[in-house]
C-alpha cells in the first residue's frame, strides 16, 4: 500500500510542478500566490474528486480513500515546502545574492564597501514597498506609508509568533 501512496504522491507533486513551469513560462500570472495555491492545492483535490467519481461510475470499484488521502498528504507537504521556498526564487533575495556575489568572485572576496554600495535602500526596500502597495497591504498618501487592513491582518500572525517564541521582531 505505501508503495502506491509514495509513487502517487510524488507523481501528483511532479505533475503540478510541470503545470507550474508551463503556466509561468507562457502566461506569467499577475496574482502568483493565488496561482500557486490553485495549481498545487486546489487542482489535485478537484482531480482526486473527479477520479473518485468516475472510477466508481465506470468499474463499480472505488479507489481507496486511504491511498488518496495518504498520497495527498505527501503531495501537500512537498507543495507547502515548495510554495514557502518560492518567494526566494521570485524576489531577488539579498542573502542569496550576497553568497552568489562572494562565490562568484573567484576567491578574491568582496569588500565591505562594495556590499554596502550594492545593497542600498533603492535595492533592498523600494521594490518590496512597491510589492506591498501592489498587494494592497500599504497605501501612500500625503507622503506617508500606511498599513491597510489587509496589511495589518497579514503582519499580525508573525508578530504573535515572535511573541509566543519569546523573540523580538526579526531584523529583516
Amino acid at each position: 500500500m505505501f508503495q502506491r501512496i509514495l509513487f502517487s504522491g510524488l507523481f501528483i507533486f511532479l505533475f503540478c510542478l510541470c503545470i507550474h513551469v508551463a503556466v509561468w513560462r507562457t502566461r506569467y500570472p499577475k496574482n502568483r500566490p493565488a496561482a500557486l495555491l490553485f495549481v498545487f492545492m486546489v487542482l489535485p483535490v478537484i482531480a482526486g474528486a473527479a477520479l473518485l467519481g468516475t472510477d466508481r461510475l465506470l468499474t463499480g470499484v472505488s479507489i481507496s480513500i486511504q491511498v488518496l488521502a495518504g498520497a495527498y498528504l505527501l503531495h501537500f507537504s512537498l507543495s507547502a515546502a515548495y510554495i514557502m521556498s518560492y518567494p526566494a526564487v521570485e524576489a531577488v533575495s539579498p542573502s542569496l545574492m550576497i553568497t552568489l556575489m562572494i562565490g562568484s568572485s573567484n576567491g578574491s572576496g568582496v569588500s565591505v564597501e562594495e556590499l554596502n554600495s550594492t545593497f542600498d535602500g533603492k535595492f533592498l526596500l523600494e521594490p518590496r514597498i512597491k510589492d506591498l502597495k501592489d498587494a494592497g497591504m500599504l497605501t501612500e498618501s500625503k507622503g506617508l506609508l500606511s498599513l491597510t487592513l489587509r496589511g495589518k491582518r497579514f503582519v499580525t500572525p508573525f508578530i504573535v509568533l515572535r511573541r509566543v517564541l519569546g523573540l523580538p521582531i526579526g531584523g529583516g
Partner: protein, 182 residues
C-alpha cells in the same frame, strides 16, 4: 521544542542564530515524532518492505512540513516585507518612505551578513568577505537556475566590479516590468 530552547538559551545567556535553533529543533523532533508514529502504526506492520516504505513516507512528510515551518519562521526573521509592515505598525500605522529607507537598508544588510557568518556560510578576513561553507552558495545557484526555468530574470554574478550593481538593478527592474505586465 523551539519555545523551550529559546527560553533555555536565554537563561544560559548562550547566543545562537535563531535559524540554527529551528534547524536543530527540527532534527531533534525526529525522535518524539518517530516514537509516536512507531507506537501508533509502524510497529504493527509485519512486512519489512512495507515498513521501510512507510518509514520513508513518514520521513518525507515530517521533513517537508518541518522545512515549511523553517521558511515560515524565517519570514518572521528576515523577510523585508514583514519588517516594513512591522515598522509601520510599530510607528502607529504611518511612516514616511525616507524614514523607512534611512533606518532600513544598512541594518538589513548588517543582519544578513551576521546571519550568514553565524551559519558559517561566509567569513570575514580583513575588510573582505569570502565563502566559508558552500551550502547556501549551492542553494543560491540552484534558485537562480530554477528562476531561469520559470522565465524569471535573475542577475548574472559571474563578473565582479561596478557592473554587478548595474546587473542587479537591471534584474530587479526586469522582474518589476514582468510583474507589471502580468
Amino acid at each position: 521544542m523551539q519555545l523551550a530552547s529559546n527560553r533555555l538559551l536565554k537563561a544560559l545567556k548562550i547566543k545562537m542564530s535563531n535559524q540554527v535553533v529551528v534547524i536543530l529543533c527540527s532534527v531533534a523532533g525526529h525522535v518524539p515524532v518517530g516514537a509516536i508514529i512507531w507506537i501508533m502504526y509502524l510497529r504493527d506492520i509485519n512486512s519489512t518492505a512495507e515498513l521501510v516504505l512507510a518509514s520513508v513516507y513518514c520521513l518525507a512528510v515530517y521533513n517537508a512540513l518541518a522545512y515549511s515551518y523553517f521558511h515560515l519562521f524565517n519570514m518572521s526573521e528576515t523577510a523585508r516585507r514583514i519588517r516594513i509592515l512591522y515598522e509601520i505598525y510599530a510607528a502607529g500605522g504611518a511612516m514616511s518612505p525616507a524614514q523607512m529607507s534611512s533606518y532600513g537598508a544598512q541594518a538589513m544588510l548588517k543582519n544578513r551578513i551576521e546571519r550568514l557568518t553565524a551559519m558559517k556560510q561566509i567569513k570575514r578576513n580583513g575588510s573582505r568577505y569570502y565563502l566559508d561553507h558552500r551550502l547556501i552558495y549551492a542553494v543560491s545557484t540552484a534558485v537562480a537556475g530554477w528562476g531561469s526555468l520559470l522565465g524569471i530574470p535573475y542577475p548574472e554574478m559571474s563578473e565582479f566590479g561596478s557592473g554587478r550593481k548595474t546587473r542587479l538593478t537591471q534584474a530587479v527592474r526586469e522582474q518589476d516590468a514582468k510583474q507589471d505586465a502580468a
